[in-house]
C-alpha cells in the first residue's frame, strides 16, 4: 500500500481517545496558491486526527487549478460520523491560509465564531492584485491572526518550513486536537526524511505556536 495510507483503529475505539481538546468538531478550510504546500498541512492534521481516533473527511483540489491558481481543501474533523465532504456556508471554525488575499476568498464559509489564520505576505502572480494596505486593513477588521511566516521560517533556518509555521499558528485554534498531538504528527509524517528534517519542522512549528 502507498505510504500515505494510514491505518486507523477500528470503529469501536473511535470515541474517547486521549490527547484531544474539548471541542467535538473542527471544520477547516485550508487555502493558498497552487504549489504553496497546503496539502502537507492537511496531511499532518489528518495524521493527528487519525491517531486521536476522530472521523475525518478531506476534499482536495487536483488537476488544472493546481497550476498557480487559487487552491483550497475542506478538512472536517469530528467525534461523530461526517456526512458532507464540503463545509457549508458559515460552517468553518478555521480558515488557514498561506496567502492573505486567498484567506478572504472563502469568507462566506467562515463561522460567526470562526478565525482566520494567515500568512501576511502577498503572493503576487496576477496583474490586478488588490491594494496591499487596503487588503491588510480589511483583514485586520476580521477575526484574524497573521504573521510573515516566510520570514519566521527563514529566522528558524528552515526557509521551506513556512507551512509548518502556519500550522503552529493555527494549532491553538484546532480545539479538537492538542498542540502536542500535532507535534507528534509532524514527527511521524517527516520521520522517513530523517531526524534533521523533523527537528527543523518542529522548530518552525513551535515558532508559529509562539507567534514569532
Amino acid at each position: 500500500m502507498k505510504e500515505n495510507q494510514t491505518t486507523i483503529d477500528t470503529a469501536s475505539s473511535l470515541k474517547g481517545s486521549a490527547g484531544r481538546g474539548s471541542a467535538s468538531k473542527c471544520d477547516i478550510i485550508l487555502c493558498g496558491v497552487g504549489g504553496q504546500g497546503i496539502l502537507s498541512i492537511a496531511t499532518i492534521i489528518g495524521e493527528a486526527a487519525t491517531k486521536a481516533g476522530l472521523y475525518l473527511k478531506q476534499a482536495e483540489v487536483h488537476g488544472m487549478s493546481q497550476r498557480g491558481g487559487d487552491v483550497q481543501s475542506n478538512l472536517r474533523l469530528s467525534t461523530e460520523p461526517i456526512w458532507s465532504d464540503l463545509i457549508a456556508e458559515a460552517g468553518a471554525d478555521l480558515i488557514i491560509s498561506m496567502e492573505p488575499m486567498e484567506s478572504m476568498r472563502y469568507l462566506a464559509y467562515l463561522g460567526k465564531e470562526g478565525k482566520i489564520v494567515t500568512s501576511s505576505k502577498p503572493f503576487v502572480n496576477i496583474p490586478n492584485y488588490p491594494d496591499e494596505e487596503a487588503l491588510q486593513a480589511e483583514l485586520d477588521a476580521l477575526p484574524s491572526v497573521k504573521l510573515d511566516i516566510e520570514s519566521v521560517a527563514k529566522d528558524c533556518g528552515n526557509p521551506r518550513g513556512a507551512n509548518m509555521v502556519l500550522l503552529g499558528m493555527a494549532a491553538p485554534y484546532i480545539g479538537i486536537l492538542s498542540v502536542e498531538s500535532l507535534r507528534e504528527a509532524i514527527a511521524t509524517v517527516f520521520a522517513r526524511k530523517g531526524e534533521q528534517v523533523v527537528e527543523a519542522n518542529l522548530k518552525a512549528f513551535d515558532a508559529g505556536v509562539a507567534g514569532k
Binding site: T50, A59, H62, M64, S84, D85, E89, M101, L107, Y129
Partner: protein, 551 residues
C-alpha cells in the same frame, strides 16, 4: 496467494468486512483498492481528472505488483475499453477508468460491449466533473449506462466506492454485462477512512466460448438477449443494498442520488422521507412507494437532471416533481451542502460579507514551462499574419488561451486542433496552425494528421512535446521518442518535420523555423521538445536522493 477469503455468492452480497483494517483513502484510491481486493486482473485507462489517481494507486500497490496486474497507461480510452473487454473475454476481471468525456472516446466499444456481453467482470468507471473544475463540459455518464442498457453504480461515499467493486464485478458476471460506475469529482478527490476486506484471488483464464461476432444476424439475437436482461437489472436495483429507504412523517419525499445523499443528511439528519439511489436502473417500485406516501418529490442529483426526468415519466404529469429542472436546485454546477440545504429550506447563509479586496487568480502555465516559449514564438511570428488562427487542444497548453499569451482560438476535444485547422485551411483560412501536446497527439491526433497529409492541407502542426502527460500530473506519454517516426510514417515530408528546443535563448531559431513552415504550402510538423518543468524537478529530486551507485 494466501489467506484469500471468499465473497458470499448470493445476490446483492457485500464483501465480508469483519476484522478488516481501516485506511484513509481518496475516493479514487478506495475504488482502486476495492478492485484489487476483489480479484482484479487489469486496469486499462488514459489519465483524466478526476479519475487519474485510480490507476496511479494500482501502479504503486504491493499486491498489484506481486500479482503482476496490468496497469500501464493506454493510448486512449477506446484502446483501454477494448483491451479490458478482451481481458473479460478471457474470463478475468477488468476495470476501465476515465474522466466523463473519455466515455465519448470509447463509446463505440462501450455500447457494443453491452451487445457482446462479458465473461469476466467488467466495470467501466466514469469520473464526472460537475462544475467543470478541470473539464470542458459537465456531461452525465448515467446517460451512457441507460443508452447502453446496462446497470450503473453511483457511490455516495468512499466506503461504498470500495464495497461496490466486489459487488460490481459479481453483478457483471451474474448478468453477463459490463457495469458502469459513475463518480463525481467531490468523491474522487475526497479522503475518508475505509474499512477494507481481505483480498480474493484473481479469476482463472477461461475464455468465452460463445461467438462475440457482431454480424447483424448474431447482433440481433444478442440485442434481444440484452433487452431480456433488463428485468434482472431492475430487480437487482430494487433489492440493492445501496438503494436504501428512510422514512419520516414528512410529506415531501426526497430522491437522493449518489453523493447528494450526504448533503441531504447534513441538512436534515433523520427527518427525511427518502429513497437513496446508488444503483440503476432506477428502482421504480421504491420511488412509486415514496410518491404514494408524499405530496411531492424533490430529486437531488449531482450532474444533469437524469433521474428528475425519469421520475417525471414514471409518475406522470399530475405529480409534482422538483429538482434542477424546476429551479429548486441550480441547473448547472456541482451540488453543495448550501444548495441542497436551500432546496430543503434549511440554508443558514454566510456570517460575513464578501471580501472587497479580492481578485480572481486563474491557473497559469508554470514558470520555466516550455509551452511558454512555444507561445512566445508563435505570437511573435503570427503578429505578421493578422488573419491567422491557432487551433488548440486539451492539456496544460490550453492555458495559452489566457493572458499573457491569448494565442488560441479553439479547444474542443482531444485531437481537434489538427482536424479543425485542416477544415479551416480547406475553407481557405491562412495561416491555420494547430497546437497539440505529445500525449494528446497519440491519443487522437495521429488519424487527423493522416487526413491532412492525404489532402495535402496547408497547415502547420505544433506538437509541443514535454515528454509526459503534464496536466494530470506527469504520467507516461505513449509516443515518447516516437514522434518523428510517427509523422514520417504518416507521410509528412521529412524536410517538414522540424524539432526545436523551446528555451528563451533559442527564440531566433524557433521563430525562423515557424516562419519557414508557415510559408510552406502543405503539412508541416514542428516539434518543440523539452521536459515538463514539474517532472524535471521531480526527476532531479529523485536523483539527489538515490545513492551515486544507483544512478
Amino acid at each position: 496467494m494466501k489467506n484469500m477469503s471468499t465473497i458470499d455468492k448470493s445476490n446483492n452480497s457485500l464483501p465480508n468486512r469483519d476484522g478488516g483494517e481501516r485506511v484513509l483513502l481518496l475516493g479514487d484510491e478506495a475504488i482502486a483498492l476495492g478492485a484489487i481486493h476483489a480479484g482484479l486482473s487489469g486496469v486499462y485507462a488514459y489519465p483524466g481528472t478526476p479519475s487519474t489517481e485510480i490507476t496511479e494507486f494500482i501502479q504503486g500497490n504491493a499486491i498489484a505488483k506481486e500479482r503482476g496486474l496490468h496497469s500501464r497507461w493506454c493510448t486512449n480510452e477506446k484502446t483501454a475499453m477494448e483491451a479490458a473487454l478482451g481481458m473479460s473475454y478471457a474470463g478475468k476481471r477488468a476495470l476501465v477508468c476515465m474522466k466523463h468525456v473519455g466515455m465519448n472516446v470509447c463509446a463505440d466499444a462501450f455500447v457494443n460491449s453491452a451487445i457482446t456481453g462479458v465473461k469476466g467482470g467488467l466495470i467501466v468507471l466514469a469520473a464526472d466533473d460537475p462544475s467543470m473544475h478541470s473539464s470542458q463540459n459537465e456531461q452525465d455518464s448515467r446517460f451512457y449506462a441507460k443508452f447502453a442498457l446496462v446497470p450503473c453504480l453511483e457511490p455516495s461515499n468512499q466506503q461504498e466506492a470500495y464495497d461496490m467493486m466486489a459487488y460490481g464485478f459479481e453483478l457483471s458476471e451474474r448478468l453477463g454485462e459490463p457495469i458502469v460506475m459513475r463518480i463525481v469529482t467531490r468523491l474522487a478527490h475526497s479522503r475518508a477512512a475505509v474499512k477494507v476486506a481481505a483480498p480474493v484471488a484473481e479469476k482463472p483464464l477461461s475464455p468465452a466460448t460463445d461467438a462475440w461476432v457482431l454480424l447483424p444476424g448474431i447482433a440481433r439475437k444478442k440485442y434481444v438477449a440484452l433487452l431480456e436482461k433488463q428485468v434482472d437489472m431492475l430487480q437487482a436495483s430494487e433489492g440493492s443494498p445501496f438503494n436504501q429507504v428512510e422514512t419520516s412523517a414528512s410529506k415531501r419525499g426526497i430522491v437522493a442520488c449518489g453523493i447528494a445523499y450526504n448533503y441531504v443528511k447534513e441538512a436534515v439528519g433523520s427527518e427525511a422521507n427518502l429513497v437513496k439511489v446508488s444503483q440503476y436502473p432506477l428502482p421504480e417500485a421504491k420511488i412509486k412507494a415514496l410518491a404514494a406516501q408524499c405530496d411531492e418529490l424533490l430529486v437531488i442529483e449531482d450532474g444533469q437532471p437524469v433521474v428528475e426526468e425519469m421520475v417525471k415519466g414514471l409518475l406522470g404529469a399530475g405529480y409534482p416533481v422538483k429538482g434542477r429542472l424546476t429551479g429548486d436546485l441550480p441547473r448547472t454546477g456541482e451540488l453543495t451542502p448550501d444548495s441542497v440545504a436551500k432546496a430543503l429550506g434549511k440554508a443558514t447563509g454566510a456570517a460575513f460579507a464578501p471580501a472587497k479586496n479580492l481578485a480572481a487568480r486563474p491557473p497559469q502555465l508554470c514558470q520555466g514551462c516550455g509551452h511558454r516559449d512555444v507561445y512566445a514564438a508563435l505570437n511573435e511570428v503570427l503578429a505578421d499574419y493578422p488573419e491567422h488562427r491557432v487551433f488548440g487542444d486539451i492539456g496544460c497548453y490550453t492555458l495559452g488561451a489566457l493572458p499573457p499569451f491569448q494565442s488560441l482560438s479553439s479547444c474542443v476535444d482531444m485531437g481537434a486542433s489538427i482536424t479543425m485547422a485542416k477544415g479551416a485551411a480547406d475553407a481557405g483560412l491562412f495561416p491555420a496552425v494547430a497546437v497539440i501536446g505529445d500525449s494528446t497527439f497519440t491519443h487522437s491526433g495521429m488519424t487527423g494528421l493522416l487526413d491532412a497529409v492525404n489532402d495535402k492541407s496547408n497547415i502547420a502542426v505544433v506538437i509541443s512535446d514535454n515528454l509526459t502527460t503534464g496536466m494530470t500530473g506527469g504520467q507516461d506519454s505513449a509516443g515518447t521518442n516516437k514522434f518523428e517516426a510517427i509523422c514520417l510514417g504518416l507521410g509528412v515530408e521529412p524536410e517538414h518535420v522540424r524539432v526545436v528546443v523551446p528555451l528563451p535563448k533559442n527564440m531566433p531559431e524557433i521563430t525562423r523555423v515557424i516562419r519557414e513552415e508557415i510559408a510552406y504550402n502543405g503539412v508541416s510538423v514542428i516539434i518543440p521538445r523539452r521536459e515538463c518543468i514539474q517532472t524535471f524537478k521531480r526527476h532531479a529530486k529523485q536523483k539527489q536522493t538515490l545513492p551515486p551507485s544507483s544512478l
